[in-house]
């Protein structure tokens, strides 16, 4: 009963331009590969490994958009290689695959994402309330579906770190990494803060040590999230509101808000927002030889989100206008 092996039909060739190198430098190298119907970028990367460059480094695990390992910048857009179909890219054009720009290079497409694991350790864990008598009898907590819906959205996160990569608070300002949790860990805090069982309070920590105020809600993180989590609208903005509620007297808050508006016009704000400011070029970019494309330069939805920056400022204590 030998099983028949299904073969794919070849559909021409594709050219990939893949960044090869390490922390000491590197360059893009071109690979021309046969293509098959329905393939994703990761399939072609695997073909390069199997036939031309067995030492081409890339992370991957599930190849189904569930584990978040194969993050890269494809034609400048932060994406999962396993979920980017070749036929969604411009036909006949070379496809550029570069490592995530915001993390130190280990090799080729593999970056050192330990920043994220360190940030994860700084989030105070769930402190669940105790069970009621009724719950003890029922053998478990009672929570209404509508009360778990919000945290469930954030728990869809596959930790691909594309949001951490694209967030310009750290993408353009390496120095911010010491005190900025980033979108992934803002949704983690939001998930816990909105968890029906939680009794912990992370608001002061978020404001004082995790840089929640630095986020100026340009929504770049939301744009690149492969799980379509509304990071900015559903997590960061509500967190900012909670932090403000905790810290400020509402009257003083209103006063500061008005004062801010008179001090700085929207146009000035746009100029001083990091996304629009002079790009801070990291030393590693120069040694890599070829400057990596910035997603904000590639047009499309990401650029559109940045085109109209909201009138809040990084590091500003004021609550968002939203």
């Amino acid at each position: 009963m030998a099983e028949e092996i299904v073969r794919g039909t070849q559909s021409g060739e594709v050219t990939l331009r893949i960044w090869r190198g390490d922390q000491d430098g590197g360059a893009f190298e071109e690979y021309v590969m046969p293509a098959q119907e329905g393939e994703v970028v990761l399939d072609v990367i695997h073909r390069v490994q199997a036939t031309s460059a067995p030492d081409l480094a890339c992370r991957w695990n599930c190849k189904a958009g569930k584990c978040g390992s194969c993050s890269a910048e494809i034609n400048g857009r932060p994406s999962l290689m396993c979920m980017t179909r070749m036929d969604t890219l411009p036909p006949g054009e070379t496809v550029t695959v570069a490592p995530m720009r915001s993390f130190p290079i280990i090799r080729d497409l593999v970056t050192d994402v330990s920043f994220n694991y360190e940030m994860a350790k700084r989030i105070p864990p769930l402190l669940p309330r105790s069970r009621t008598e009724d719950e003890e009898a029922a053998g478990g907590y009672r929570m209404a579906q509508m009360d778990v819906d919000r945290s469930q959205e954030f728990r869809k996160c596959i930790e691909c770190y594309l949001c951490q990569n694209v967030c310009h608070v750290t993408r353009d300002h390496e120095e911010n990494k010491t005190a900025y949790a980033g979108p992934r860990y803002f949704i983690r805090s939001a998930e816990l803060e909105m968890h029906p069982l939680d009794t912990n309070d992370r608001r002061q920590l978020l404001q004082e040590e995790q840089g929640l105020g630095k986020c100026n809600i340009t929504k770049c993180c939301t744009e690149v999230c492969p799980e379509h989590i509304k990071i900015t609208d559903n997590a960061i903005i509500p967190l900012k509101e909670r932090v403000v509620d905790a810290k400020y007297d509402p009257v003083a808050w209103l006063g500061r808000k008005i004062l801010n508006r008179t001090k700085r016009t929207a146009a000035e704000a746009a100029v001083s927002a990091p996304a629009q400011g002079p790009a801070a070029v990291r030393p590693s970019e120069e040694v890599r030889g070829v400057p990596l494309p910035h997603p904000h330069d590639t047009g499309g939805a990401v650029a559109a989100a940045v085109a109209a920056p909201p009138a809040t400022f990084p590091g500003d204590d004021a609550p968002p206008d939203a």
Binding site: M1, A2, E3, E4, I5, V6, R7, G8, D22, Q36, E37, G38, E39, V40, D43, Q49, A50, T51, P54, D55, A57, C58, R59, W60, N61, C62, K63, A64, G65, K66, C67, S69, M83, R85, I106, R107, D108, V110, D112, Y117, P125, L126, P128, A138, G139, G140, Y141, R142, M143, A144, Q145, V148, S151, Q152, R155, K156, C157, I158, E159, H195
Partner: protein, 613 residues
């Protein structure tokens, strides 16, 4: 001589999926110095891909459910080859383990009165699977990962373990491996070691498994002298994607069928009604009308045949395709579009909607999916003591997919996630107690370490030789075509011959570049385990001359009532004797296959099976 660093721990756990994480949490809670070592980044292990749910008789949806019914379903699903004690512990303890996850932050979907919602799955009499849409594995691994981080457990990521080390008296003394980012070698000295390395599916061409599932734990245990059982029992999940080829094998959750999806052939016929085996005939609907009533009320009709255990459904799909009633790309149709509203489908199966939409261009709320069997899970594995997870080698423990016995010859859906948390915890306790009670200093033998390092580095020394990708691809083709869902003696013999050729070729591997994050080299170091477990599966499949669960022999199409009484035990004759040319790997040509009695179930449990017949 290559340098290496050494870390000293009480308990070292290999693998950070559900079982490894759960073991680490328990061992750490006992106050022991615990290290968790994993081949990928934390949180990326195969558990993350589990979709449908975790089986536990919570009784939240059907109050009639209890551990005895779950135990009975598990044993029947496994065609009674299971280790009864494991199946019992699993059914008894999984509800507490699931509630514990909730205590640690997991947010399962809810019933109308706010309890954990449970869904129907194949072979489970009642709706029993706690779930979060179709991303339950992600929820569980994230919960355990976050608990492990909060507990301050030492996690060593992207570290490939090559070999187990042992004391002069044969007890495990640690492991040797290398850091994938740097290629530098590392030794973890340990009083006890837990294997939680998952499965073996990467040796097949079409699999739901990731690159990590190379059977490292199975192979290392065997090389160290531990017993493996029932390695022939491989689960082919009935519903993998079949098109495009790029995603062939990718899992389509059984939850699609649990939530009302049906299987049809190219003639539009719900063919599963033609394949109801006698063992399940009394409890399976014999008309579409009856089956459809069951979804809303399990007392209004019997179960639809689409929800038979996975081995039955996979074989039936295979038979339909062979009979020429398959879909265009060699599968059958899984239809939920005509049975549930688009809103329902998107709410209950969001990942499936997303996966088909983005990877196949198919809208599952409007069209049927094309699906076919995919290599998914190995029921066989390292022989363990049910209560302590101890293997037959002192100081070595195993939990999760790498352990054998729990699932018999066929695993029920949802019983894997529960297996991980029940036996992960037990392995943590077992290994912890062993470590705490181990007298005297643990010694690491430098010779063993160097042999493993030399073997790993050998492919760099060769100017020319075999490309590891070629050997992997030839092995996958061999296992897919000759040791697949339907097997026959002559083809298994042919497979064994081909595996021997591949073993010989693998002694002459050559890789370029340097050891820093080098996937070609990483694969070269995975191949010894892939080849060893493929040999074990093929040997077991030759010896078990019957059809039972995940072992289907065309030349022995019926179950043999004598063979349900035996496990086929595989062990290596001389664990320490290195085979020529392999630089330290014992000769797998000395593996023996011995039928040994399956533990006999006590009478009070046997009675559970008599009641229903």
């Amino acid at each position: 001589m290559t340098e290496y660093e050494t870390h000293d721990y009480d308990v070292v756990i290999i693998g950070a999926g559900g079982a490894g994480l759960r073991a680490a949490i328990e061992s750490r809670a006992m106050g022991l110095r615990t290290a968790l070592v994993c081949k990928s980044l934390l949180g990326k292990a195969h558990t993350v891909m589990a979709e449908g749910g975790v089986a536990a008789a919570l009784g939240n949806v059907y109050a009639e459910d209890n551990w005895e019914v779950h135990f009975r379903d598990t044993m029947r699903g496994g065609k009674m080859l299971n280790n009864w004690r494991m199946a019992q512990l699993h059914a008894q303890e999984s509800p507490d383990r699931v509630r514990e996850l909730e205590q640690w932050g997991a947010l399962f979907d809810r019933t109308a009165d706010g309890l954990i919602l449970q869904r129907d799955f194949g072979g489970h009499r009642y709706a029993r699977l706690a779930h979060v849409g179709d991303r339950t594995g992600l929820e569980i691994i994230r919960t355990l990962q976050q608990k492990a981080v909060a507990d301050g457990i030492d996690v060593f990521m992207e570290c490939k373990v090559l070999r187990l080390l042992h004391d002069p008296d044969g007890a495990v003394s640690g492991v040797v491996g290398y850091w994938r980012p740097t290629g530098a070698f590392v030794v973890f000295q340990a009083k006890s070691v837990v294997l939680a390395t998952g499965g073996v599916g990467k040796s097949w061409m079409y699999t739901s498994n990731s690159w990590e599932s190379t059977g490292d734990g199975h192979a290392m245990a065997l090389w160290a002298g531990a017993d493996l059982i029932d390695m022939e029992c491989i689960q082919f999940h009935p519903t993998g994607m079949v098109w495009p080829l790029s995603v062939r094998g990718l899992l389509v959750t059984e939850g699609v069928r649990g939530d009302g999806g049906v299987l049809r052939n190219s003639e539009g016929q719900r063919f599963m009604f033609d394949y109801i085996p006698p063992m399940f005939a009394t409890e399976t609907a014999d008309s579409e009308d009856e089956a459809d009533k069951w979804y809303d009320d399990h007392t209004a009709g019997r179960r639809p045949p689409e929800l038979l255990p996975r081995d039955e459904v996979a074989r039936s799909i295979n038979a339909e395709v062979k009979a020429g009633r398959g879909s265009q790309h060699g599968g059958v149709f899984l239809d939920i579009a005509s049975r549930r509203t688009p809103e329902d489908i998107r709410r209950r199966l969001p990942s499936m909607y997303h996966q088909f939409k983005e990877l196949a261009g198919v809208d599952i709320t409007a069209e049927a999916m094309e699906v076919g069997p995919t290599c998914h899970y190995i029921m066989g594995g390292v022989r363990v003591d049910a209560d302590s997870a101890a293997t037959t080698v002192a100081g070595l423990f195993a939990a999760g997919e790498v352990a054998g016995g729990m699932h018999g010859s066929n695993r029920l859906g949802g019983n894997s996630l529960s297996d991980l948390i029940v036996f992960g915890r037990r392995a943590g306790i077992g290994a912890g107690q062993f470590a705490a009670g181990r007298a005297g200093a643990v010694t690491v033998d430098r010779g063993q370490v160097e042999a493993a390092i030399d073997a790993a580095l050998a492919p760099f020394e060769r100017e020319a030789g075999e490309n590891p990708y070629d050997i992997q691809s030839d092995l996958q083709e061999t296992m897919q075509s000759l040791v697949g869902i339907i097997r026959t003696g002559s083809e298994l013999e042919e497979a064994l011959g081909r595996i021997e050729e591949l073993e010989d070729r693998a002694t002459n591997l050559a890789v370029g570049g340097d050891p820093r994050y080098n996937p070609g080299w990483n694969l070269a170091t995975d191949l010894p385990s892939m080849l060893t477990v493929s040999r074990c599966t093929t040997l077991g499949a030759l010896e078990r001359k019957e059809s039972r669960g995940g072992q289907t022999r065309n030349d022995y199409p019926q179950p043999d009532p004598e063979l349900v009484k035996v496990n086929f035990v595989e062990r290596i004759a001389h664990p320490d004797a290195a085979a020529p040319g392999t630089g330290g790997t014992p000769s797998v040509r000395s593996i023996s296959v011995t039928p040994e009695p399956v533990p006999v179930m006590p009478e009070e449990l046997q009675a559970l099976f008599e009641e229903v017949h």
